[in-house]
């Protein structure tokens, strides 16, 4: 098999890891972001500490902890499950922090205007504050998605057959000049994959600035 096809075998798994853990993160971060904005100091402190703790531990530690640490009797996670869960947990913490920043940077006037119009506090939040916050932070979310794509490569260390794992396999089978190719190809592939997201986020950012702050 040629080096391109060999490396590309891992592409579906890389995309699946990224999409699945991003899904977990995008949803799981919502309650945590609300907790980070809570007036209740106890709730705030618990959420704050968990976000900081999760972010303070490298991804590879989460993956090994889930893959090798979580083995009880017959229960164990498959490499792919451990990778998705680990990357998902880390995404929850990072995205919660991004959401929190968004909620706090919605211009006060927008919220006050909604209140002055007599909207119920629930509608002020879900109808005005949350959608505006989402737009403000959507470029940051796109940036995070790209770093998640790159972090999914760490799953190769717990033997998930994604892009980097396939590159390693090919390189091991070709211990000659060809052995350097898969690493160059896979590096270029990650850069290529993040281009559309970067382009989209830049356009979104420009539009959002016009609509909310202008």
């Amino acid at each position: 098999m040629d080096v391109f096809s060999a490396v590309l075998q891992g592409l579906p798994m890389t995309l699946w890891l990224t999409a699945a853990s991003f899904g977990i993160g995008a949803l799981g971060a919502i309650p945590l972001a609300l907790g980070l904005n809570s007036q209740n100091r106890l709730i705030w402190l618990v959420c704050r500490l968990s976000v900081d703790l999760v972010r303070g531990i490298p991804v590879i530690v989460w993956l090994f902890l889930l893959k090798f640490g979580m083995q009880f009797d017959a229960f164990r996670l498959s490499p792919t499950q451990a990778a998705i869960l680990g990357l998902g947990i880390v995404s929850i913490a990072y995205l919660a922090e991004i959401y929190r920043g968004g909620l706090q940077s919605v211009p006060r006037g927008q919220v006050e205007a909604a209140e002055a119009l007599g909207l119920k506090s629930r509608n002020v939040f879900f109808g005005v504050r949350a959608p505006l916050a989402f737009r403000i932070v959507s470029p940051s979310i796109a940036t995070y998605l790209m770093s998640l794509l790159k972090d999914s490569s760490i799953a190769s260390t717990i033997i998930v057959a994604e892009l980097v794992y396939q590159s390693q396999t090919y390189a091991r089978q070709h211990p000659d000049v060809q052995g350097i190719l898969p690493y160059i190809i896979v590096g270029a592939l990650y850069i290529l994959l993040s281009l559309p997201v970067a382009y989209y986020s830049r356009r979104l950012d420009a539009r959002m600035r016009k609509e909310i702050f202008a």
């Binding site: 530690v61 190769s156 390693q168 052995g179 350097i180 690493y183 590096g187 990650y190």
Partner: protein, 218 residues
């Protein structure tokens, strides 16, 4: 075995690993940031060849996963006759990573310096070099400082990737202990705590510093 006695048994080995992790983080920051400053300047060069080259170095450093760059240095280069030790390969990869990311942070810092400052310097007849070194750089680096502190914490965490090429850092120590007595859960929880004990206070200091700076310039 109870958790704390197991941890007491593991701790010396883990701390030996932590020394290597901290050394790697130190290398990547002290070499990477000055390189990043240089790259940040080269990217704004008027010479297109210089600009394209430095842009490529930055974009590859930021766009390719650090793990891939690590493998390229350690497993890839020997195939074309360039061989180096694991610690050296990890240093090269992480320095590249730190340089690429820090160049962007510093460039954003320089751009945040108010145009009036530069115009004032021009009006006073300062040369371009003087304007940059005495006016733009000090103010730009100051506003880039919280970002660079945050990046330093990220770099410390990224040293854990060196495990993949058998550098004897925290993860390697943990894995050795794990395969010795199969207490993987206890070992990796301890590894996580070892990283957290360094990253958490560092994060809090960064947040505190950022808040104080915002107040000082508000």
């Amino acid at each position: 075995v109870n958790w704390f006695s197991a941890w007491a048994d593991y701790l010396p080995t883990m701390l030996d690993g932590l020394k290597v992790s901290l050394l790697l983080a130190f290398i990547s920051i002290t070499l990477g940031y000055p390189l990043g400053l240089g790259l940040g300047l080269l990217v704004t060069s008027k010479n297109w060849a210089v600009k394209a080259m430095s842009l490529a170095v930055v974009e590859v450093g930021r766009g390719a996963p650090a793990l891939v760059v690590l493998y390229l240095f350690y497993y890839g280069l020997p195939n074309v006759g360039v061989t180096m030790g694991a610690l050296m390969a990890a240093s090269f990869a992480l320095v590249w990573n730190a340089a690429a990311y820090s160049s962007e942070v510093m460039r954003a810092g320089f751009q945040s310096v108010h145009r009036g400052q530069i115009e004032a310097a021009n009006a006073l007849g300062l040369t371009a070099r003087h304007t940059f070194v005495r006016i733009v750089m000090p103010q730009g680096l100051r506003s880039a400082t919280p970002g660079l502190m945050g990046l330093a914490i990220q770099m410390f965490q990224a040293t854990s990737l060196a495990y993949a090429i058998a550098v004897s850092e925290v993860m390697k120590a943990a894995n050795n202990l794990g395969s010795r007595d199969f207490n993987y859960l206890k070992v990796f929880v301890l590894a996580g705590l070892v990283y957290a004990v360094v990253s958490l206070p560092a994060t809090w200091i960064t947040v505190y510093f950022e808040k104080r700076m915002k107040r000082a310039y508000a």
